[in-house]
Symmetry: C2
Subunit: 172 residues, 2 copies
Protein backbone atom coordinates (compact mmCIF):
# COMPACT_ATOMS: atom_id res chain seq x y z
CA UNK A 1 0.00 0.00 0.00
CA UNK A 2 1.31 3.43 -0.90
CA UNK A 3 -0.24 6.18 1.24
CA UNK A 4 -0.26 9.90 0.52
CA UNK A 5 -0.78 12.08 3.59
CA UNK A 6 -1.97 15.67 3.27
CA UNK A 7 -1.73 18.48 5.84
CA UNK A 8 -4.01 21.14 4.32
CA UNK A 9 -3.44 24.88 4.63
CA UNK A 10 -4.34 28.03 2.71
CA UNK A 11 -0.69 29.15 2.46
CA UNK A 12 1.18 25.85 2.75
CA UNK A 13 -0.15 22.35 2.03
CA UNK A 14 2.18 19.58 3.24
CA UNK A 15 2.34 16.20 1.54
CA UNK A 16 4.07 12.96 2.45
CA UNK A 17 4.18 9.60 0.68
CA UNK A 18 5.05 6.30 2.38
CA UNK A 19 5.08 2.65 1.35
CA UNK A 20 3.79 0.00 3.72
CA UNK A 21 4.05 -3.76 3.68
CA UNK A 22 2.69 -5.55 6.72
CA UNK A 23 4.17 -3.71 9.70
CA UNK A 24 7.03 -2.33 7.64
CA UNK A 25 6.96 1.23 6.43
CA UNK A 26 9.27 3.13 4.13
CA UNK A 27 9.64 6.80 3.29
CA UNK A 28 9.02 7.67 -0.38
CA UNK A 29 8.74 11.47 -0.62
CA UNK A 30 7.49 14.60 1.12
CA UNK A 31 7.29 18.32 0.53
CA UNK A 32 5.29 21.51 0.67
CA UNK A 33 2.95 23.15 -1.82
CA UNK A 34 3.15 26.90 -1.35
CA UNK A 35 0.66 29.40 -2.73
CA UNK A 36 1.40 33.03 -3.58
CA UNK A 37 0.11 35.20 -0.70
CA UNK A 38 -1.22 37.93 -3.03
CA UNK A 39 -2.83 35.55 -5.54
CA UNK A 40 -6.63 35.35 -5.75
CA UNK A 41 -8.40 32.44 -4.08
CA UNK A 42 -9.14 30.66 -7.43
CA UNK A 43 -5.43 31.01 -8.33
CA UNK A 44 -4.34 29.57 -4.99
CA UNK A 45 -6.81 26.69 -5.31
CA UNK A 46 -5.55 26.04 -8.84
CA UNK A 47 -1.98 25.76 -7.46
CA UNK A 48 -3.03 23.35 -4.68
CA UNK A 49 -4.99 21.10 -7.07
CA UNK A 50 -2.38 21.21 -9.84
CA UNK A 51 0.50 20.37 -7.49
CA UNK A 52 -1.39 17.54 -5.75
CA UNK A 53 -2.16 16.11 -9.21
CA UNK A 54 1.59 16.23 -10.00
CA UNK A 55 2.50 14.44 -6.76
CA UNK A 56 -0.15 11.75 -7.42
CA UNK A 57 0.93 11.29 -11.07
CA UNK A 58 4.56 10.98 -9.98
CA UNK A 59 4.23 8.68 -6.96
CA UNK A 60 0.93 6.90 -7.72
CA UNK A 61 -0.39 6.41 -4.17
CA UNK A 62 -3.29 3.97 -3.68
CA UNK A 63 -4.94 5.65 -0.70
CA UNK A 64 -5.04 9.12 0.88
CA UNK A 65 -5.13 10.34 4.48
CA UNK A 66 -5.83 13.97 5.36
CA UNK A 67 -5.74 15.81 8.65
CA UNK A 68 -8.96 17.22 10.02
CA UNK A 69 -8.77 20.92 10.78
CA UNK A 70 -10.07 22.95 13.66
CA UNK A 71 -12.23 26.00 13.55
CA UNK A 72 -10.07 29.05 14.18
CA UNK A 73 -10.78 31.98 16.52
CA UNK A 74 -10.81 34.09 13.36
CA UNK A 75 -13.87 33.07 11.23
CA UNK A 76 -12.22 34.35 8.01
CA UNK A 77 -9.22 32.09 8.66
CA UNK A 78 -11.60 29.17 9.24
CA UNK A 79 -13.28 29.88 5.90
CA UNK A 80 -9.91 30.14 4.10
CA UNK A 81 -8.59 26.93 5.63
CA UNK A 82 -11.87 25.16 4.79
CA UNK A 83 -11.61 26.23 1.15
CA UNK A 84 -8.00 25.00 0.89
CA UNK A 85 -8.91 21.69 2.53
CA UNK A 86 -11.96 21.25 0.28
CA UNK A 87 -9.75 21.84 -2.77
CA UNK A 88 -7.18 19.28 -1.54
CA UNK A 89 -9.88 16.64 -0.99
CA UNK A 90 -11.34 17.49 -4.42
CA UNK A 91 -7.92 16.84 -6.00
CA UNK A 92 -7.61 13.48 -4.20
CA UNK A 93 -11.13 12.27 -5.08
CA UNK A 94 -10.72 13.46 -8.70
CA UNK A 95 -7.79 11.05 -8.92
CA UNK A 96 -10.12 8.34 -7.53
CA UNK A 97 -8.22 7.91 -4.27
CA UNK A 98 -10.18 6.76 -1.22
CA UNK A 99 -9.75 9.54 1.36
CA UNK A 100 -9.54 8.92 5.12
CA UNK A 101 -9.75 11.73 7.66
CA UNK A 102 -7.87 11.79 10.98
CA UNK A 103 -7.99 14.36 13.76
CA UNK A 104 -4.82 15.83 15.29
CA UNK A 105 -5.65 13.80 18.42
CA UNK A 106 -5.81 10.56 16.41
CA UNK A 107 -2.49 11.39 14.73
CA UNK A 108 -0.74 12.04 18.06
CA UNK A 109 -2.24 8.93 19.64
CA UNK A 110 -1.23 6.75 16.69
CA UNK A 111 2.28 8.14 16.18
CA UNK A 112 3.40 9.12 19.69
CA UNK A 113 0.94 7.10 21.78
CA UNK A 114 -0.62 10.04 23.60
CA UNK A 115 -3.05 12.70 22.44
CA UNK A 116 -1.32 15.52 24.31
CA UNK A 117 2.05 15.01 22.60
CA UNK A 118 3.93 18.11 21.48
CA UNK A 119 4.57 18.74 17.78
CA UNK A 120 8.28 18.06 18.38
CA UNK A 121 7.50 14.57 19.71
CA UNK A 122 5.49 13.81 16.57
CA UNK A 123 8.36 15.02 14.38
CA UNK A 124 10.85 12.98 16.42
CA UNK A 125 8.80 9.81 15.91
CA UNK A 126 8.47 10.51 12.17
CA UNK A 127 12.27 10.71 11.86
CA UNK A 128 12.67 7.50 13.90
CA UNK A 129 9.97 5.43 12.22
CA UNK A 130 10.93 6.42 8.68
CA UNK A 131 14.71 6.33 9.34
CA UNK A 132 15.15 9.87 8.06
CA UNK A 133 18.53 11.58 8.23
CA UNK A 134 16.97 14.89 9.22
CA UNK A 135 13.63 16.40 10.26
CA UNK A 136 11.35 17.37 7.36
CA UNK A 137 9.75 20.81 7.22
CA UNK A 138 6.84 21.13 9.70
CA UNK A 139 3.99 20.81 7.16
CA UNK A 140 5.68 17.90 5.35
CA UNK A 141 6.26 16.18 8.73
CA UNK A 142 2.56 16.63 9.62
CA UNK A 143 1.59 15.11 6.27
CA UNK A 144 3.90 12.12 6.86
CA UNK A 145 2.38 11.80 10.36
CA UNK A 146 -1.18 11.52 9.02
CA UNK A 147 -0.03 8.99 6.38
CA UNK A 148 1.64 6.97 9.17
CA UNK A 149 -1.55 7.24 11.23
CA UNK A 150 -3.51 5.53 8.45
CA UNK A 151 -0.89 2.78 8.30
CA UNK A 152 -0.68 2.26 12.08
CA UNK A 153 -4.45 2.24 12.64
CA UNK A 154 -5.09 -0.15 9.75
CA UNK A 155 -2.19 -2.41 10.62
CA UNK A 156 -3.34 -2.56 14.23
CA UNK A 157 -6.89 -3.34 13.15
CA UNK A 158 -5.73 -5.99 10.68
CA UNK A 159 -3.52 -7.69 13.29
CA UNK A 160 -6.02 -7.44 16.12
CA UNK A 161 -5.80 -4.57 18.58
CA UNK A 162 -2.49 -4.13 20.28
CA UNK A 163 -0.30 -5.78 17.66
CA UNK A 164 2.00 -2.80 17.82
CA UNK A 165 1.75 -0.21 20.50
CA UNK A 166 3.48 3.08 20.83
CA UNK A 167 3.45 4.83 24.17
CA UNK A 168 5.06 8.08 25.19
CA UNK A 169 7.04 8.27 21.96
CA UNK A 170 8.58 4.79 22.35
CA UNK A 171 7.67 1.42 20.91
CA UNK A 172 6.68 -1.07 23.58
Amino acid sequence: MRIIGIDPGSRVTGFGVIDTSGRNVQYVASGCIKTTPNASLPERIHTIVHDIFEVIDRYRPTVAAIEQVFVNINPSSTLMLGQARGAAIAALTTKNLPVFEYSALQVKQAVVGQGKAAKQQVQHMIVQMLHLSNTPQADAADALAVALTHHLRNHTLAQGLGARKVKGGRFI
Copy 2:
Protein backbone atom coordinates in the same frame (compact mmCIF):
# COMPACT_ATOMS: atom_id res chain seq x y z
CA MET B 1 -19.56 33.97 -24.04
CA ARG B 2 -21.10 31.10 -22.09
CA ILE B 3 -21.04 31.68 -18.33
CA ILE B 4 -21.51 29.07 -15.60
CA GLY B 5 -22.62 30.52 -12.27
CA ILE B 6 -22.16 28.56 -9.05
CA ASP B 7 -23.87 29.08 -5.69
CA PRO B 8 -21.81 26.87 -3.38
CA GLY B 9 -23.20 24.98 -0.39
CA SER B 10 -22.33 21.90 1.64
CA ARG B 11 -25.79 20.34 1.13
CA VAL B 12 -26.93 21.98 -2.13
CA THR B 13 -24.74 23.55 -4.83
CA GLY B 14 -26.72 25.56 -7.38
CA PHE B 15 -25.54 25.97 -10.97
CA GLY B 16 -26.79 28.13 -13.82
CA VAL B 17 -25.55 28.46 -17.41
CA ILE B 18 -26.28 31.46 -19.65
CA ASP B 19 -25.18 32.59 -23.11
CA THR B 20 -24.33 36.23 -23.72
CA SER B 21 -23.78 38.17 -26.91
CA GLY B 22 -23.31 41.91 -26.51
CA ARG B 23 -26.08 43.05 -24.19
CA ASN B 24 -28.23 40.03 -25.03
CA VAL B 25 -28.45 37.13 -22.66
CA GLN B 26 -30.09 33.74 -22.98
CA TYR B 27 -30.89 30.99 -20.51
CA VAL B 28 -29.16 27.65 -21.20
CA ALA B 29 -29.61 25.46 -18.13
CA SER B 30 -29.75 25.45 -14.34
CA GLY B 31 -30.13 23.01 -11.49
CA CYS B 32 -29.00 21.79 -8.10
CA ILE B 33 -26.31 19.35 -7.03
CA LYS B 34 -27.43 17.65 -3.83
CA THR B 35 -25.18 15.68 -1.51
CA THR B 36 -26.29 12.89 0.80
CA PRO B 37 -26.59 14.30 4.35
CA ASN B 38 -25.11 11.21 6.01
CA ALA B 39 -22.24 10.79 3.54
CA SER B 40 -18.67 11.49 4.66
CA LEU B 41 -17.07 14.80 3.67
CA PRO B 42 -14.83 13.18 0.99
CA GLU B 43 -17.94 11.49 -0.50
CA ARG B 44 -19.85 14.78 -0.56
CA ILE B 45 -16.89 16.58 -2.15
CA HIS B 46 -16.63 13.79 -4.72
CA THR B 47 -20.31 14.34 -5.64
CA ILE B 48 -19.87 18.13 -5.97
CA VAL B 49 -16.76 17.79 -8.17
CA HIS B 50 -18.17 14.92 -10.28
CA ASP B 51 -21.46 16.72 -10.96
CA ILE B 52 -19.78 20.07 -11.78
CA PHE B 53 -17.54 18.16 -14.24
CA GLU B 54 -20.70 16.70 -15.86
CA VAL B 55 -22.32 20.12 -16.19
CA ILE B 56 -19.13 21.57 -17.72
CA ASP B 57 -18.69 18.63 -20.12
CA ARG B 58 -22.32 18.93 -21.22
CA TYR B 59 -22.64 22.72 -21.60
CA ARG B 60 -19.00 23.74 -22.21
CA PRO B 61 -18.98 27.16 -20.52
CA THR B 62 -16.03 29.47 -21.23
CA VAL B 63 -15.96 31.35 -17.92
CA ALA B 64 -17.16 30.77 -14.35
CA ALA B 65 -18.63 33.07 -11.70
CA ILE B 66 -19.04 31.97 -8.09
CA GLU B 67 -20.71 33.65 -5.15
CA GLN B 68 -18.57 34.66 -2.21
CA VAL B 69 -19.77 33.23 1.08
CA PHE B 70 -20.06 34.76 4.50
CA VAL B 71 -18.70 33.46 7.73
CA ASN B 72 -21.51 31.88 9.70
CA ILE B 73 -22.30 32.36 13.38
CA ASN B 74 -21.56 28.65 13.73
CA PRO B 75 -17.81 28.07 13.05
CA SER B 76 -18.39 24.43 12.05
CA SER B 77 -20.89 25.55 9.40
CA THR B 78 -18.34 28.10 8.15
CA LEU B 79 -15.75 25.33 7.83
CA MET B 80 -18.21 23.03 6.02
CA LEU B 81 -19.31 25.75 3.61
CA GLY B 82 -15.67 26.69 2.99
CA GLN B 83 -14.80 23.09 2.12
CA ALA B 84 -17.73 22.80 -0.31
CA ARG B 85 -16.82 26.12 -1.95
CA GLY B 86 -13.14 25.14 -2.20
CA ALA B 87 -14.16 21.88 -3.89
CA ALA B 88 -16.42 23.74 -6.37
CA ILE B 89 -13.61 26.17 -7.29
CA ALA B 90 -11.22 23.20 -7.60
CA ALA B 91 -13.63 21.58 -10.09
CA LEU B 92 -13.87 24.80 -12.14
CA THR B 93 -10.09 25.45 -12.24
CA THR B 94 -9.40 21.76 -13.04
CA LYS B 95 -11.50 22.29 -16.18
CA ASN B 96 -9.34 25.36 -16.92
CA LEU B 97 -12.15 27.87 -16.50
CA PRO B 98 -11.22 31.39 -15.35
CA VAL B 99 -13.13 31.91 -12.08
CA PHE B 100 -14.55 35.26 -10.97
CA GLU B 101 -15.86 35.86 -7.46
CA TYR B 102 -18.78 38.15 -6.61
CA SER B 103 -20.20 39.05 -3.22
CA ALA B 104 -23.95 38.87 -2.49
CA LEU B 105 -23.90 42.70 -2.43
CA GLN B 106 -22.38 42.85 -5.92
CA VAL B 107 -24.96 40.34 -7.21
CA LYS B 108 -27.87 42.35 -5.81
CA GLN B 109 -26.45 45.63 -7.11
CA ALA B 110 -25.87 44.19 -10.57
CA VAL B 111 -29.15 42.31 -10.94
CA VAL B 112 -31.64 44.41 -8.96
CA GLY B 113 -29.75 47.71 -8.77
CA GLN B 114 -29.60 47.94 -5.00
CA GLY B 115 -27.51 46.06 -2.46
CA LYS B 116 -30.34 45.71 0.04
CA ALA B 117 -32.67 43.89 -2.35
CA ALA B 118 -34.61 40.91 -1.02
CA LYS B 119 -33.97 37.42 -2.41
CA GLN B 120 -37.43 37.53 -4.04
CA GLN B 121 -36.48 40.66 -6.01
CA VAL B 122 -33.35 38.91 -7.32
CA GLN B 123 -35.43 35.88 -8.36
CA HIS B 124 -38.02 38.15 -10.00
CA MET B 125 -35.32 39.85 -12.08
CA ILE B 126 -33.81 36.49 -13.07
CA VAL B 127 -37.19 35.36 -14.42
CA GLN B 128 -37.65 38.69 -16.28
CA MET B 129 -34.16 38.98 -17.74
CA LEU B 130 -33.95 35.35 -18.87
CA HIS B 131 -37.61 35.16 -20.01
CA LEU B 132 -38.27 32.12 -17.87
CA SER B 133 -41.75 30.64 -17.60
CA ASN B 134 -41.36 29.98 -13.88
CA THR B 135 -39.01 30.69 -10.98
CA PRO B 136 -36.10 28.27 -10.68
CA GLN B 137 -35.29 26.61 -7.35
CA ALA B 138 -33.62 29.05 -4.91
CA ASP B 139 -30.04 27.74 -5.28
CA ALA B 140 -30.32 27.48 -9.08
CA ALA B 141 -31.70 31.06 -9.17
CA ASP B 142 -28.77 32.30 -7.06
CA ALA B 143 -26.38 30.58 -9.45
CA LEU B 144 -28.06 32.21 -12.47
CA ALA B 145 -27.88 35.55 -10.61
CA VAL B 146 -24.10 35.32 -10.15
CA ALA B 147 -23.67 34.32 -13.82
CA LEU B 148 -25.80 37.35 -14.81
CA THR B 149 -23.69 39.53 -12.50
CA HIS B 150 -20.56 38.59 -14.43
CA HIS B 151 -22.31 39.42 -17.70
CA LEU B 152 -23.78 42.75 -16.50
CA ARG B 153 -20.55 43.98 -14.90
CA ASN B 154 -18.43 43.07 -17.92
CA HIS B 155 -20.93 44.42 -20.43
CA THR B 156 -21.16 47.69 -18.50
CA LEU B 157 -17.38 47.95 -18.34
CA ALA B 158 -17.01 47.12 -22.03
CA GLN B 159 -19.61 49.71 -23.07
CA GLY B 160 -18.42 52.43 -20.73
CA LEU B 161 -20.09 52.85 -17.37
CA GLY B 162 -23.82 53.32 -17.48
CA ALA B 163 -24.50 51.61 -20.80
CA ARG B 164 -27.22 49.65 -19.11
CA LYS B 165 -28.48 50.47 -15.71
CA VAL B 166 -30.84 48.62 -13.48
CA LYS B 167 -32.39 50.43 -10.56
CA GLY B 168 -34.89 49.18 -8.03
CA GLY B 169 -35.52 46.05 -10.04
CA ARG B 170 -36.36 47.91 -13.29
CA PHE B 171 -34.33 48.71 -16.36
CA ILE B 172 -33.92 52.47 -16.84
